[in-house]
């Protein structure tokens, strides 16, 4: 579905006469201000709103922290510790993890809120369903983990570090290209595509069920009855997507921490 792109089908899923047009990739392109190559899209606006929400909320919540936490502070600490201890410390280790907590926490909050946009009215559209945002987040992680790897082991040392230790000498030339591909191509590619693909497909699924239900309502009685399970399915997908979206934010952050840990690790 991702690759099935038809430029001529530049219309949203809608009920047009008797013909049902299923939702396609074009539903994600939503220019709001301007047009053409540099139009500001709806996702950019909501992404900006998410940045404002996150920064304001975090600044307000962490302004007056006390030794004995209030209820809101307790919740904030639980949320923060989920990234700090559950992801960063467990993956990177207690020695180095603290300096990566800001990045991982930023990524987690940003991706979580923007993913939940997919089930939250009035947005109902996950920002990371546009691959540009997913690539941006991935590039940040990609640059960071290679940067710290080169910094710690030196240019050649970092490449040597990629080969797992304890391998017999004749296997190393075989493993090295594989590891090179993993470090430089597979990891960033999968990181970006996993996030984008889940958001993209989930949004299309919800739109499909809703638009199909709306279409059924315009048809005969039999089809009108069919609209009920269709809308029910849309509601189930809505709940399911809420779960997937949180999970993808977690997975993205967890894998970022894992790649950082891999670049830092003394040995594999």
């Amino acid at each position: 579905m991702i690759l099935a792109y038809a430029p001529q089908a530049a219309s949203l899923p809608m009920v047009s006469g008797d013909e049902f047009v299923p939702p396609g990739p074009e539903i994600f392109y939503l220019p709001l201000i301007g047009e053409g190559e540099w139009a500001i899209t709806e996702q950019m606006v909501w992404g900006g709103v998410s940045v404002v929400i996150i920064c304001t909320a975090l600044l307000m919540l962490t302004r007056n922290l006390s030794i004995v936490p209030s209820k809101s502070q307790f919740l904030l600490e639980g949320f923060y510790n989920f990234t700090r201890n559950g992801i960063a410390r467990d993956m990177i280790g207690s020695k180095d993890f603290l300096r990566f907590v800001p990045l991982l926490f930023s990524l987690f909050t940003l991706i979580l809120l923007n993913n939940w946009y997919g089930v939250l009215p009035p947005v109902m559209n996950p920002t990371y369903g546009r691959i540009g945002f997913a690539i941006a987040a991935t590039v940040v992680v990609y640059v960071v983990y290679h940067w710290i790897g080169f910094k710690r082991y030196g240019f050649t040392g970092y490449f040597g570090h990629m080969i797992p230790e304890g391998l017999p000498g004749f296997i190393k030339p075989v493993i090295f290209p594989l590891e090179l591909i993993t470090y430089f191509i597979t990891r960033p590619l999968t990181l970006a595509l996993r996030l984008f693909g889940n958001m993209f497909a989930g949004h299309i699924l919800i739109v499909l069920f809703v638009s199909a239900g709306a279409y059924f309502l315009t048809q005969d009685v039999v089809f009108k009855l069919l609209a009920v399970p269709t809308f029910l399915m849309a509601a189930i997908m809505w709940l399911f997507e809420a779960l997937i979206q949180a999970l993808q934010a977690y997975v993205f952050t967890l894998l970022s921490a894992s790649y950082i840990a891999g670049a830092l690790a003394e040995e594999h």
Binding site: I2, L3, Y5, P7, A10, S11, L12, M14, P25, E26, I27, Y29, L30, P31, L32, E35, E37, W38, A39, I40, T41, E42, Q43, M44, G47, G48, V51, I54, C55, L58, L59, T62, R63, L65, I67, Q73, L76, E77, Y80, L98, V101, P102, F105, S106, L107, T109, L110, P122, M124, N125, R130, I131, G132, F133, A134, A136, A137, F200, V207, V210
Partner: protein, 202 residues
């Protein structure tokens, strides 16, 4: 969903080429994606994380300080307990010593008292004995006189004249009584009462 409908005209009038295949990034969104991560990162790393970590540090210090205080209090309590126990042991030993001393003193007092009482008793007995002896002597003397007087009187009545002067002069009665005592004279049965009186008492 409504916002899709609102955005619909925009999508329809899109210039061909701006809408790309889903895997090709839309450049403004790519740039804005960096901007979003950057802004959140700056805020989080400059303010949010330092604030929270400082609170954690303060909490850790407070807990450690509290634990140190508790340890100090515990040590003080242990020291106090030890001193109390030492004091208690001292007091107990002292009490034992006092009790022992008291027992000894009591025993010596009892012994003293007993001696004193014995002495007193023997003294009382002695004096009583002496008194009884004296009284007996007195009684003997008096009896002797009375018996003498009575026997003189009786004899006078029998003889018919007063023998008193003569008795006094010659000591007849005394001699008679001395003879009675030595057994030289056997009392004769004159009547029941005088015989009994002389025989039993003397």
């Amino acid at each position: 969903m409504l916002n899709f409908a609102a955005a619909l005209p925009g999508a329809v009038v899109t210039v061909a080429g701006a809408e790309k295949p889903p895997l090709i990034p839309y450049i403004p969104e790519l740039i804005f994606g960096f901007v979003m991560v950057g802004i959140v990162y700056v805020v989080v790393s400059r303010k949010v994380v330092p604030n929270i970590e400082r609170a954690y540090e303060e909490r850790r210090a407070a807990i450690e300080g509290g634990m140190q205080q508790a340890e100090e209090a515990q040590a003080a309590a242990a020291a106090a307990l030890q001193s109390y126990e030492a004091q208690l042991a001292d007091a107990r030993a002292e009490a034992n010593a006092i009790r022992e001393q008291a027992r000894e003193e009591g025993a010596s007092i009892i012994a003293d008292m007993r001696n004193q009482a014995n002495a007193e008793a023997s003294r009382i007995t002695e004096s009583a004995k002496r008194q009884i002896e004296a009284e007996r002597q007195q009684a003997v003397v008096q009896l002797r006189q009375e018996v003498g007087a009575m026997s003189t009187a009786l004899a006078s009545k029998i003889v018919g004249e007063s023998l008193e002067d003569e008795v006094r002069q010659k000591g007849i009665v005394d001699r008679f009584l001395a003879e009675l005592e030595s057994g030289a004279v056997t009392p004769e049965k004159v009547g029941s009462q005088p015989g009994e009186a002389t025989g039993a008492d003397l």
